[in-house]
Structures are given as C-alpha cells and as structure tokens.
Amino acid sequence: MSMTVFPSKTGAKDFAGALLDSAAATPDGIVGPDGKAAPKRFNVYRNNVVVSLCEALGQIYPAVKTLLGDEYFNAVARAFVTRHPPQSPVLIWYGGAFAAFIEEFPPLEAYPYLVDVARAEWSWLQAYHAADAAPMDPALLGALDPEKVGEARLEKHPAALLVRSDWPVLDLLRANRFFPEDAVAVDLSLSQSVLITRPDLDVEIRLPYPGGAVFIEALFEGFALAEAAGKAQSQCAEFSLSDCLSDCLSSGAFTGLTAGRE
C-alpha cells in the first residue's frame, strides 16, 4: 500500500460519496503532509457539510427544534440531510421536504403536530423570500357593481400562504418560536389553520375567522367570491362573509381582482 508507484486518482464521485456516509472509508489518494491517509482531516469536510446543513435546518425550523430539543433535532436533521442533500447551491431554497420526512419518521409518529409546525415554518420562509407586491386597495371591491361583486376573483399575493391544520399550529409557534418566554398555553385539542402574509417587510401570521380557511383556500384556488363564500358557508355555519373578506383584505393576502364578465 505504502509502495504505490502510481498515485491514486480521487474523483469527485469518491469524495462526494464519502461525505454523507460516516461509515464509508476515506477515499483513496487523500493524504496529509506526510503522504499518509488522513481520515481525521477528511472528517473536517464531512463535519462541515453535515453540521452546516443541520444548522441551516435549525434556522428554518426553530419551533420544531425547540419542541424536539437540540440533541434530538440534530439527530433528525442529520438523518434528513444525509438522505436528502440540497439539490441547488441556493440554500435559502433547501429544506422544504423536512415536514414530509418527519411525517414518515417512525419515532415521531406520536407527535403528528410536528409535521404541521414544520409546514407552517416552511411557509413562513416562503413568505419571507417571496416577490414583493403591493396589497390590493380594498376600495377596488367597493367600486364594483354590487350585483357583480360575487363574480369577482381575487389575485393571490405572492407572499400569501394558507396552512390548514387539525392542530393548534399558531399556539405551538407562539410558544416555541415567537414568544418562548411567555409560557403560551397550548391546547392540543384545538385546530388552527393559519394565514401567512407579508404585505411589506414583516411576515404576519393570523387565524382566519370561522370558515375563513375554506374561504381563503377557495379564493387562492381561483374561485369567485360567491363560490368561495358558498363553500365556506356549507362547511361552517358561523361563516361571516363581511368579517372574512375584510380580514383577507387587511392581511394583504391579495394584490388585486378580476371583475366578473359584464
């Protein structure tokens, strides 16, 4: 071995293959200053890759990290990054598959709300980096022929996202991300879907009014106002069109509208 006449060629394939597999041998041809194999030196690269990606996930998912604790989170993150390394050098786009990974991670089966907390945190990041746009002027709606308002379709703001959940996602985020000092009470029997918007610089998260999640989801899908209101009404007797509509407009979830046909 030490009498190698021709130096080993180390391809990027060998190098890359060993980076994410801690059980893999150090690639041939990688040496220290004495020309000998140097696994501890190679491990600096392994460590840089895995630790930096786990840190990136921790920054995207601070509430999940708080809920799991640092040690457990890092173990889950390590399992994720080694199986799902980034597919782009733009790291602000990395980590969207983490919620699905948690969902299929057997040891976390007993904590299904973690999946929705992760989905909400991913949505928060999407709102943060989304294209800028001015929210819709509510007067546009008032300017429509009252007979035709129901036919109008609202245009979704690029930074508006709805996260439907059967868990108290907003309270979980408040307790574990936004107000960790405040001892926010979390009642796991509550269902909280959340509307995430960024009308200008700050990402906002709010609970829609009763029936509002169905209403907003239908509007995001392109249904006209009357159709969306009908869906919400049929699923929620408490649905109030005026409350939900004014909330939608003040949240900055829409940029404009398309009037119905004349």
Partner: protein, 298 residues
C-alpha cells in the same frame, strides 16, 4: 473594459471598491450600519443569500448599495467541479451583477456540487493538468456569461491529493495567465493551508502573483489537530482575525501597497461594533502602507 458596469441606478454611489477595509454584510447588522452611517469602505455579500425573489434581504441590500460600494462573492458555483457549471446558477449570478453593480465579483477555487447534490462546503481540487484545463474552461464561461473579470480565491484546505503534480501557487498562476481572471488573496486561507500542509506562509506569499490580486480577505480560524497530532487549522470565520494573519497582512500591504480588504465573520456573529473594529484595524494598516508609499515617492 472588463470590470466596468453600466450606468448607475438612481442616486446610488459609484461601484468602485476603494483600497480600504470592508466588512461582510450580515442581516443582523444592517439597521445599525444604516442608523450610524458607518464609515466603512465597502460591504461584501454572499451571492446565494440574495437569490430569492424579494423580501427583506433585497430591501436591505438595496439600502446598503445606495450608500456603499458592494462586492459580490459567490460561494456555490463549484468552479472546481468535475461536471459542467450549473447554467441556471450562472445566470442568477449574472442577474445579481446587473442588479447591484458590484465593484468586484469573486468565486472560489473549489467545488461543492457533484451529480445533483450540493455539499455546502468549499471542497478541494487536485492540482493536476486535467483539473487545470477544466477550471480554466469554467472561468472562461463565467467571465463570458457575466460579462466581466472575476476574482478567484485561493482555498483553505485540510487534505492533499496524491495525484497533484503542481503546487497550489503554480496552479493559480497558470489559471490567471490563461483566463485573465484576477485573484482574491485570502491571507487567512494562506495561513490555514500553509499550517495544515507544513509550508511557510511567508514563502507562499512571496511567490504569489500579487499583480493579479484585486482584493484581500481576512478572517478567523479555529485550531484543531490532525491524525498525527499536528496542528490543523479550520477556516471557521467564527472569531477575530489571528495575530499571525495580521502580521502577514501587514507585510503584504507594506510590500505591495493598499488593496481592498474584506474582514469576514460568518459564524458566531458578533455585535456590529466588534466587526467594525476589525475593519478599522485593517484600515489602520492600509493607511500606514499608504504613508510609507508616499514617503518613498518623496
């Protein structure tokens, strides 16, 4: 002329990076920098952090760019990779160059993508003929696509390749000669790599093609040891610049004159005042070098 940018937007200040100290821009420092109107030569940003569609990152960078020259530093192009460059990524870099009109644009002598995976680290390349050809082709492609001269940064490395047939300096010199690219001399990387491979950093710097250098980087490193208990320095950017690196820097600027100098601090990010003090320390060394040069002229 390569390096020139089109007409400046709005009432932005000019693009040119002065021969002064700059600081790596961190989002948590921006409000204070703007409020205190910090007297800093320039700010450098990692290109990949500004590839989102909108939101606070772009708003902050626009505000900084209106008041300061900015340099754009790519960390993910994988110029040393075995496969062709990512064309979409190259277009994103070109778009950022057009949007922010950075005075300098740099990337690394390293790779980070293989097949479809991105490894988020600056991985080392063997110094042999095959790699040299490939790196030169990639740099030609970058300079053609982005439409300007780029600077290539010397790496921090922890391992060597048995297959290498050239020294790092011979390799870098040949790249600059063939492609016409400029060089970004990272003096912390010089100190880290020379310590790790048991070379003299003074000899390395004496042999470095200084006429091609357009920018200097300084940053902090973390000490460790290798398999045989020898010192192994990690390019961690998580602390102040080491005294040994300051001494090398002083000797470089006193021998070659003032150059734009960036202080990098990317992990365990300190208060703005701490990073600003590091930049001021570099500025002091640069101003002394200027005085020395003036005195020689007189």
């Amino acid at each position: 002329m390569l390096g020139e940018t089109s007409s400046p937007k709005s009432d932005r200040i000019g693009s040119a990076i002065p021969a002064r100290a700059g600081a790596g821009l961190k989002p948590e420092h921006v409000a204070e920098i703007l409020r205190t109107e910090a007297d800093i030569g320039f700010f450098e940003v990692h290109a990949e952090n500004y590839m989102g569609a909108g939101g606070p990152p772009h708003r902050q960078l626009e505000a900084i760019r209106d008041r300061y020259p900015v340099s754009l530093h790519g960390v993910g192009l994988s110029i040393g990779g075995e496969q062709p460059l990512d064309k979409e990524h190259l277009q994103r870099l070109a778009a950022l160059n057009r949007r922010y009109e950075p005075g300098l644009f740099s990337e690394h002598l390293a790779w980070s993508t293989h097949d479809t995976s991105y490894y988020n680290d600056l991985l080392p390349v063997p110094y042999d003929r095959t790699t040299l050809e490939r790196v030169c082709d990639h740099i030609d492609e970058v300079q053609e696509t982005v439409g300007r001269r780029m600077l290539l940064e010397n790496p921090s490395t922890y391992v060597a390749f048995e297959q290498s047939t050239m020294s790092e300096i011979e390799f870098i010199k040949e790249i600059a000669r063939r492609t016409g690219c400029g060089l970004l001399l990272d003096i912390n990387n010089v100190y880290v790599s020379c310590t790790n491979h048991q070379h003299s950093p003074e000899d390395y710097l004496a042999a470095f093609p200084m006429t091609d250098v357009g920018e200097i980087h300084l940053g902090g490193h973390a000490p460790d040891t290798d398999d045989a208990g020898r010192p192994l320095l990690i390019d961690a950017h998580d602390r102040a610049v080491d005294d040994a690196v300051w001494r090398l820097y002083e000797s470089v600027v006193s021998n070659h004159g003032a150059l734009p100098t960036l202080v990098e601090w990317d992990n365990d990010i300190p208060a703005w005042q701490v990073l600003r003090a590091e930049a001021e320390a570099a500025d002091l060394i640069l101003s002394r070098a200027e005085e020395t040069v003036l005195w020689r002229v007189v």
